[in-house]
């Protein structure tokens, strides 16, 4: 038996502790007050045989527990005869380009042949596409065969690097033979040239490719039609019908005809806008099945959500802001606006705020530290916040809510003032162009006088130099502070034509989050979603389409000889090979777990004996 970390065996010296304590055990006879001690003779205390046995058992249990603990930490292993023998790794490509009729059966035949002809007793099996998975750890021929029996082609795309990296990981302990069974699609090298240590022999099992294959390579939904792209990657012309399906029903069928290697768009005109999910499929009996259908989800036109805090429905606060944001074109309003009192806002969670792009904060009354944390989380997640100075907004509360250091201080500034954009290239003022001068027509009677502090960027000032519109970044989001009112109490801004574009541009700027994707490749699906084509609902309630990687449809293969030539061979660090082998053997045997279990048993026994 050997140990992976023999230094921990030094800890076994701790067994001396209970032994010494046992040997040095002092008489711990209890004290008993007595009146006739004068008549007593002193006598040595001899422990009974039962007690001596109990003490010995206790000592043995304690010593055993310490020895087992030290042994478990030292990670024991037994290097048996097979542990150091040559490893054979059979890597089987299970990408969907292996799904042509009879193709995967050929792959399994080659893999079984490689298993049968393997030198040495240790054989591992890897299944790979864009990821590699060890389906049989280094073990016997029988285990490898059983693993192969349950293997089938999937929906992924070929990445040789994944298989080779996994093979290198398995072969860390010594020389090995890698048998790579694949159709050798060229795009499998797209991720870069894979590398293999020189001590891993490489054998290639060529499954070959089908002569014909046609697939749907793209699909997108337009307002009144669905357009799909078809591609013939075979060597013979293909024709047939492309079907548009929604909810399992065929909506439309369009014929197509493709020359070898040609692509074409097939459009399905629809009378009404397409909603929900659709798919387009073709018949391709001789090619890959997985690329014969493609899915798409009609992305709803979602107007950014804006939450106005401070103006409840029917109350004057936030009235002009809400109306300005609800102005829209033929397709409806550009924003979805909801108003809320600060007290109700304080009860919202960060998750509930995630559906909004921006928040307009017009009051700080009733906002507590919890609301501050929610607002900061909203900013950190990429949200935008507009704060307008108003009678209900307190600068000190704002500094506390947003944890501004240094805090901003505001003084009331009475008297007429005129707004002037300082940075006309800023996204808020850029659409105004030369008309930004019209902002100067707004008559301000009252504003905050804020001293510029670090971290703030001034976008507009009043003509006396006092900041009027300032911005600061916060997490992934941004925050804009307008130092006057948006409810016509401190100015007549809402009555001016520039108010609506100012408010809309500000909110567009603040709520500019990237739209979430409505289509995923099989290789990129979020965790928890099954990696197979189709329409799925994600944990965040979004419905998305999952499709195969269209590149895998191409019948563009690399010859095995060329593959071998392209492969980079790397030197082997022989010094640590023994350690790696030991680590691998130890990880396989896991004797330390038994050691710890026995230690727990010893401690339990010690506890039981100690109570007797």
């Amino acid at each position: 038996m050997s140990f992976l970390y023999p230094a921990f065996l030094v800890g076994a010296a701790l067994v001396a502790l209970p032994i010494v304590l046992h040997l040095m055990r002092r008489d711990v006879a209890p004290e008993v007050p007595f009146a006739a001690v004068r008549l007593l003779r002193r006598s040595p205390i001899e422990r009974s045989r039962r007690r001596r046995l109990r003490d010995l058992l206790l000592l043995a249990a304690r010593v055993a527990a310490l020895l087992l603990l030290a042994g478990a930490f030292a990670r024991p292993y037994v290097m048996n005869a097979t542990a150091g023998s040559r490893l054979t790794i059979v890597a089987v490509d299970r990408s969907f380009s292996m799904s042509a009729p009879g193709q995967f059966d050929r792959a399994l035949r080659l893999a079984r042949q490689a298993v049968d002809e393997a030198r040495g007793d240790r054989i591992a099996v890897i299944a790979f596409d864009q990821r590699a998975e060890v389906i049989a750890s280094p073990g016997t021929r029988g285990e490898a065969r059983r693993a192969l029996a349950s293997l089938g082609s999937g929906f992924g795309a070929t990445r040789y690097a994944a298989a080779l990296d996994k093979a290198v990981e398995l072969a860390e302990s010594g020389p090995a033979t890698l048998v790579l069974v694949s159709d050798f699609e060229r795009h499998g090298l797209d991720a870069g040239t894979p590398a293999l240590p020189v001590d891993i022999d490489l054998a290639l099992g060529d499954v070959g490719v089908p002569r014909t294959n046609a697939g749907v390579t793209d699909l997108h939904i337009e307002p009144r039609r669905v357009v799909s792209s078809l591609r013939n990657t075979g060597v013979t012309p293909r024709s047939g019908n492309a079907r548009l399906l929604a909810d399992g029903r065929i909506l439309k069928t369009v014929p197509f005809s493709l020359a070898p290697g040609a692509s074409a768009d097939v459009a399905f005109d629809t009378a009404s806008p397409v909603g929900g999910s659709v798919s387009v499929s073709i018949d391709d009996p001789g090619g890959y099945a997985a690329d014969d259908v493609r899915y798409a989800v009609a992305a709803a036109r979602a107007a950014p959500g804006v939450l106005v805090v401070g103006g409840a429905p029917g109350s004057p606060a936030g009235f002009y802001l809400t109306r300005a944001l609800q102005v829209g074109g033929a397709d409806g309003a550009d924003f979805t606006v909801r108003s809320m009192l600060p007290g109700a806002f304080a009860r919202l969670t960060a998750a509930e705020l995630s559906s909004y792009s921006a928040i307009a904060l017009l009051s700080t009354h009733g906002l507590d530290r919890g609301a501050g944390e929610t607002l900061r989380a909203f900013l950190n997640a990429g949200g935008g916040i507009l704060i307008a100075a108003a009678p209900d907004v307190d600068a000190t509360v704002l500094s506390t809510l947003f944890d501004w250091r240094p805090a901003i201080t505001s003084a009331d500034r009475q008297g007429p003032a005129i707004l002037a954009a300082t940075d006309t290239r800023h996204p808020i003022f850029q659409p105004f162009g030369a008309l930004s001068a019209n902002l100067g027509q707004v008559s301000f009677t009252r504003t905050w006088r804020i001293e510029p502090v670090a971290g703030w960027r001034i976008l507009a000032r009043y003509t006396d130099g006092v900041p009027a519109l300032i911005e600061r970044a916060a997490g992934r989001g941004r925050l804009i502070l307008f130092t006057s009112d948006l409810d016509r109490r401190w100015n007549d801004f809402p009555l001016h034509p520039s108010f609506v574009p100012f408010v809309q541009e500000t909110m567009t700027y603040l709520g500019g989050r990237a739209p979430a994707s409505s289509m995923y490749l099989v290789s990129d699906v979020p965790s928890g979603v099954e990696p197979r084509p189709g329409v799925v609902t994600l944990p965040d309630k979004r419905t998305v389409a999952v499709n195969v990687d269209a590149r895998e449809s191409a019948i563009d293969r690399i010859e095995p000889t060329e593959f071998r030539r392209l492969l980079a061979r790397t030197a082997v660090d022989g010094g640590s090979r023994g350690e790696r082998l030991a680590a691998q053997v130890e990880a396989h045997q896991n004797y330390w777990q038994y050691g710890l279990a026995l230690m727990l048993i010893a401690l339990a026994a010690e506890s039981v004996i100690g109570r007797r």
């Binding site: 004290e31 007595f34 009146a35 001690v37 007593l40 003779r41 205390i45």
Partner: protein, 303 residues
């Protein structure tokens, strides 16, 4: 020593019952009345308080003290004793050293048991119109009430006994010598102690008393633990007075201990009998009647 009749109700003499009673006076009265009520049906009728002033005529008694009226009525000879002549002067000596505070599984400590015994004896003396005195001591006399028959004196004795607290180390020899020198009149001395000290000084003191003509009765009060040594586990036995510790395995030392205790008692018994002193060993878990009988026997002898 005659035994108490088996038909007697000894409930009121059981230490477990006595320990639950309130004041020392109640304890003493309960014990004595209970004892005497039983005694009336016993062969010891002559010692009851109703016959305290009379005694059967014995050859050598002064004929002038013979009660002829009684003789006329009963055709028996009784000697009529004058009160001042018949009354004893009894001194109750109680050891209050720390060792007397020891209590094993018994209902009362040795000190409590001895106090109740002393109270009972005082109560009995009072009923017999004997003068009772009390001396509590450890290595010195800590409390002393001279013998008296005046009204209220019994209450003082009982109160003193009730307030007795354990003292320090005992040194019986010195108080006994002091008392022997102080007693000018022949009297009865009752010593209540565990007598676990060195016996020689105690014996010397008792002999000194006896030499001065004093009748002495010695009650050695021991806890059941001290009599039986029932300990099982090896222990460090700490002397409650000297703090000396002896580590011992009871199984190995029990026989030696019991022998040493037996030897000590035999020495007391032998030496004291030689000078006419009664030596009675009492178990603090047993009823007090044995002690009271011993007292009555000694009183009878004194008279």
């Amino acid at each position: 020593m005659p035994a108490v009749s088996s038909g007697r109700d000894v409930r009121f003499l059981d230490p477990a019952v006595i320990a639950r009673l309130g004041s020392m006076e109640l304890k003493a009265r309960t014990i004595v009345e209970g004892f005497l009520s039983g005694l009336h049906r016993s062969p010891y009728k002559g010692f009851s308080v109703e016959f305290a002033e009379y005694r059967q005529y014995l050859p050598g008694d002064d004929l002038s003290t013979l009660d002829w009226k009684v003789y006329a009525r009963s055709d028996r000879h009784y000697v009529k004793k004058f009160e001042e002549e018949t009354n004893l002067e009894g001194h109750l000596l109680i050891d209050v050293s720390a060792s007397m505070a020891y209590r094993g599984d018994a209902p009362m400590s040795k000190l409590e048991y001895g106090s109740v015994l002393a109270a009972s004896l005082a109560y009995m003396m009072n009923r017999q119109r004997d003068a009772a005195g009390l001396i509590a001591f450890d290595q010195r006399i800590v409390s002393r009430l001279p013998a008296s028959t005046r009204p209220g004196h019994l209450h003082s004795i009982l109160l003193t006994l009730e307030r007795i607290r354990p003292g320090v180390r005992s040194d019986l020899g010195r108080p006994l010598h002091q008392l022997a020198e102080a007693l000018v009149k022949r009297s009865l001395v009752v010593l209540i102690s565990d007598l676990l000290d060195e016996p020689e000084p105690v014996l010397q003191g008792l002999k000194h008393l006896r030499f001065r003509g004093t009748d002495v009765i010695v009650f050695q009060v021991l806890d059941p633990d001290e009599i039986q040594f029932p300990f099982r586990t090896a222990s460090r036995f700490r002397d409650v007075e000297s703090d000396v510790q002896v580590t011992a395995d009871p199984a190995r030392v029990r026989a030696g201990y019991l022998q040493a205790l037996s030897d000590l008692q035999a020495q007391y018994r032998r030496e004291l009998r030689g000078v006419g002193i009664d030596f009675v060993t009492l178990d603090s878990s047993k009823p007090l009647d044995f002690a009271l009988l011993a007292y009555l026997a000694a009183r009878e002898r004194r008279l």
